[in-house]
């Protein structure tokens, strides 16, 4: 089965790379529809990437090598992250390389380099955005870790594919802790992907933008890589959420044929999830930046309660 798992791994990465801009386009389309606007084409993110890759690269005079390296590092982190997250199959050869904690670390690494690069050129907006991004990051990461821990308490493993394997292929058990973890995860992924209650992904209004101000100085293929990395991050988070909370239909080592079924199912789940994300964004108003700690504290506390509930509600006979 080694060849098959290799195939699953390759498919996993390729799918993430190719589908990620589509997911972004889909969410944007739904957002436009919900706001009674004429929607851009579903393939608009691809056109943008194509355009950006063919533009002339302009770099600030005082930029250091770090500034040039950052896009590749961030993009690499996101590709690696989507390689670890089980989208179609849990039988991934790369999965033992990094567990859920390392995954959070990967996201943090990307964030650190993005912020450093934003401060590198020394513009006011870059520094401002970097600070805000770090503020959000240091509150969101513990919450994300807690969400992953409450899932790993159930299957007693920190490897993401083992967790999903355990959740997907067992008899139906309702885990109340996952309800908490699910809400917490939604809040965290809204913050991490710069979606509306925390940041507006489409704005270029100076005082409110966070993610956009980080990449303000970048152009051409560097910018394209950042845009692609942002899509990949959204895709990775969506797939992680789907794998943890709606894991049905993911193939494993014993059932490789399920791969055929897993693909349309994944596309369907992502389509529904993307539409729901757009709906959520349309319903909520953007928060003041100083309300964000409160928002993320809520996420953290919900995740912690999820963990506590796992400990309380598991029957005393079994291991906690």
């Amino acid at each position: 089965m080694n060849g098959l798992s290799l195939l699953a791994q390759l498919l996993d990465i390729l799918l993430a790379l190719l589908l990620a801009p589509l997911l972004t386009g889909w969410v944007n389309q739904w957002r436009a529809w919900l706001q009674n606007k004429t929607a851009p084409s579903l393939f608009q993110p691809y056109y943008t990437l194509h355009k950006l890759f063919h533009k002339e690269l302009i770099v600030a005079h005082q930029a250091s090598p770090l500034y040039r390296a950052a896009p590749y590092i961030v993009f690499g982190c996101m590709v690696l992250a989507s390689a670890i997250i089980p989208t179609l199959s849990t039988d991934l050869p790369l999965a033992p390389a990094a567990d859920a904690i390392a995954l959070v670390g990967l996201f943090a690494l990307a964030r650190v380099f993005l912020s450093l690069a934003a401060m590198d050129v020394g513009t006011a907006f870059g520094t401002l955005g970097a600070r805000r991004d770090m503020l959000i990051g240091f509150l969101a990461e513990p919450a994300l870790l807690m969400v992953l821990f409450s899932a790993s308490l159930i299957s007693r493993a920190t490897s993401l594919s083992t967790i999903v394997e355990g959740l997907a292929h067992q008899t139906l058990v309702i885990h109340p802790s996952l309800a908490f973890a699910g809400v917490a995860f939604t809040l965290v992924s809204l913050a991490e992907n710069a979606r509306i209650p925390v940041d507006n992904p489409t704005t270029h209004l100076e005082l409110t933008m966070i993610h956009e101000s980080l990449i303000l100085e970048y152009s051409a293929r560097h910018l394209a890589l950042f845009e692609w990395a942002a899509s990949l991050k959204l895709f990775a988070y969506s797939c992680m959420g789907l794998a943890l909370f709606f894991p049905w239909g993911i193939a494993n080592a014993k059932t490789p044929l399920l791969l055929l079924l897993a693909l349309p199912l994944l596309v369907f789940k992502l389509a529904v999830g993307g539409a729901l994300l757009a709906l959520l964004e349309t319903f909520s108003a953007k928060m003041r930046i100083f309300r964000v700690p409160e928002f993320l504290a809520t996420a953290f506390l919900l995740a912690v309660i999820g963990m506590l509930i796992t400990l309380l509600l598991t029957p005393f006979g079994k291991a906690a």
Binding site: V173, I174, S177, E294, A297, T298, L301, I305, L312, F316
Partner: protein, 219 residues
């Protein structure tokens, strides 16, 4: 099957706790009432499920009573009160909300710790939920003491009663019908009296801020 139902009750208990937390963190009065209504619905569901699994028909009546009282009547009364008092604005909290949430989680831990030995002795389907019910009561109490306005305090008081009711149904399969009727009536009368109080407080001080009551002097 019974294991699945027990898990379903656990899920409802978790939902109840989540709603209590949402109330703790909530700033708007209107949302507070929505959350209270949702809590009532969760309670109705859990009571019905416990009634079904233990085949005790009197729990169905008590679920029906909860539905009428806590999902329909009391929220309607509360809506009328906020309409008449015109208090749809944001609720002021005495401590800032992240601190409240942190204290809330400590309360949850305390409740779980206290309930652990108790639920080990119990033999009912949903014994694990006792800790959650206790946590709900404590959280509602916390909501009550951290709000400065009268109306959120009233809602928090009602939600505290929800927590107690949940503890009664899940841990001991409900109280005798007479007791339940008595409590239901008490809650109803309580909210009516509190409503009257609200109007009087407002008439006296032109606001519903409870800190005004600290400066009462005998004249």
């Amino acid at each position: 099957m019974s294991a699945l139902i027990a898990q379903f009750i656990n899920l409802l208990a978790a939902l109840l706790l989540m709603l209590s937390f949402a109330m703790l963190a909530q700033r708007r009065i209107l949302t507070l009432i929505h959350l209270f209504t949702l809590q009532g619905i969760t309670l109705v569901l859990s009571t019905t499920v416990v009634g079904y699994v233990t085949s005790q028909p009197h729990l169905y009546y008590s679920a029906l009573l909860t539905l009428l009282l806590k999902v329909l009547l009391i929220p309607a009364l509360l809506y009328r009160v906020i309409d008449r008092l015109r208090v749809r604005r944001e609720v002021e909290t005495l401590i800032n909300i992240p601190t409240i949430m942190l204290l809330g989680i400590l309360l949850v831990m305390l409740a779980f710790y206290l309930a652990q030995p108790l639920s080990q002795m119990s033999s009912s389907v949903a014994r694990g939920t006792l800790g959650i019910a206790l946590a709900c009561v404590l959280l509602s109490f916390m909501t009550m003491i951290t709000r400065s306005k009268a109306l959120p305090q009233v809602i928090a008081f009602l939600s505290m009663e929800n927590g107690l009711f949940f503890a009664a149904t899940s841990a001991t399969y409900g109280m005798p019908m007479v007791v339940e009727l008595g409590i239901a009536l008490d809650v109803l009368v309580g909210i009516l009296i509190l409503g009257v109080f609200l109007f009087h407080i407002r008439e006296q001080f032109d606001s519903l801020d409870m800190s005004n009551l600290e400066q009462l002097r005998d004249e």
